[in-house]
């Protein structure tokens, strides 16, 4: 505030202070600064002139006749447009819903039909062949089968693997 005491207040601050709206610091400055006080007085006078000028201009304004019918037409037209808009959006929503249902039903129907038309799935075990290499077996030993899957067509339906042979004793 000391700084403010030495210089004059800004114009905008003074312009705001004409209606008794000055803050404490501004009011204090105005108490002793005649120049700023005179500027505030000018703004007060200007405010009064603005009030008078605006009132006079408003009074002198060439007010046309109210056009109620035109207004009514626009309001009604607006309501109709809004109703038409709602109707159109409702119809569009229903149409969209119907299309969605039809689309979904056709997709689901096609899937079901495809499933009904296809043959029953059968799970068959793969055949296996046991090949025993000659000469590699001791007389007492049970041959170790070499197992290969999926090669023999006329393989027996019995389990492909036999019992695991007992290894020959070192004495034999």
């Amino acid at each position: 505030m000391k700084k403010m005491d030495k210089v004059h207040l800004q114009e905008t601050e003074l312009a705001c202070s004409d209606g008794g709206e000055a803050n404490v610091d501004t009011a204090e400055h105005l108490r002793w600064c005649a120049r700023c006080r005179s500027v505030v007085a000018e703004y007060r006078w200007l405010g009064e002139q603005v009030v008078d000028a605006l009132a006079a201009a408003a009074e002198a304004a060439p007010v046309p006749r109210p056009r109620w019918r035109a207004l009514e037409r626009r309001v009604i037209a607006g309501r109709r447009r809004r109703v038409a808009g709602w109707r159109a959006s409702a119809i569009a929503s229903v149409a969209l819903a119907i299309c969605t249902v039809l689309l979904l039903s056709s997709i689901v129907g096609a899937t079901v039909a495809a499933q009904l038309a296809s043959p029953e799935a059968v799970m068959t075990p793969l055949s296996a062949t046991v090949v025993v290499a000659e000469g590699s077996v001791t007389p007492d030993a049970t041959p170790t089968p070499i197992v290969s899957y999926g090669e023999s067509v006329d393989a027996p339906s019995t389990p492909a693997l036999g019992p695991i042979p007992t290894p020959p004793t070192p004495d034999a």
Partner: protein, 201 residues
């Protein structure tokens, strides 16, 4: 019938009540629009637009919150600002520029600048100066000095803070003072009067 009763009937679709409401507020709406836009055709169009909006949305109006005029004023000021934005009105009208070159019809023989202003018509001079104030500040000045609104309401109408509304009013007044000072000085020069000191700092 009070405004509230008329509005209640108007909301229920009573055409006579709607018409009464329209006719009761039309002149005020036009005048405010005229002050803000400074053009009778634009003011008429904007006032009508504001009424169309208000009547279409009459069911939304809450008398507990604001008067009908305050509600209408919001629609009106908003449309005036949009209208001006669309038209991109120049802050200095051509009329003013051409008028500025003309000498007063009868320069005063007296040496008093205030007397010069009186002779020309203070209200007219202030109005012409208002036309040259920047649009934002002018709107704030009109709402403050014509409608007599507090800064809070001006802020709501101009979509700014109350401090900004206060600043706009202040800037408007500073501009106005400068313009009027120039006008008085110009008139004094034309009348061959030398002013002893400037009106403003």
């Amino acid at each position: 019938m009070t405004d509230v009763e008329i509005i209640a009937r108007a909301v229920n679709g009573n055409e006579a009540a709607q018409r009464a409401l329209y006719e009761a507020h039309y002149a005020a709406a036009f005048r405010l629009a005229y002050l803000l836009l400074q053009d009778a055709c634009d003011a008429e169009e904007v006032a009508q637009d504001a009424f169309v909006y208000v009547f279409r949305n009459l069911h939304r109006y809450d008398p507990q919150r604001a008067s009908f005029w305050a509600w209408l004023r919001v629609a009106l000021v908003s449309r005036c600002r949009n209208k001006r934005r669309r038209k991109q009105l120049s802050t200095v009208s051509l009329e003013m520029l051409t008028a500025a070159g003309e000498a007063p019809a009868d320069p005063t023989p007296a040496g008093d600048p205030a007397g010069l202003l009186e002779l020309r018509g203070t209200q007219q001079t202030v109005w012409e100066a208002l036309e040259q104030v920047s649009p934002g500040a002018r709107d704030a000045l009109i709402l403050r000095y014509y409608e007599g609104l507090p800064y809070k309401e001006i802020a709501a109408l101009l979509s700014c803070s109350p401090d900004a509304a206060r600043a706009r009013v202040a800037h408007g007044k500073v501009q106005l003072r400068r313009l009027l000072t120039e006008t008085v000085e110009g008139m004094a020069r034309e009348a061959g009067i030398v002013r002893p000191a400037e009106v403003g700092g």
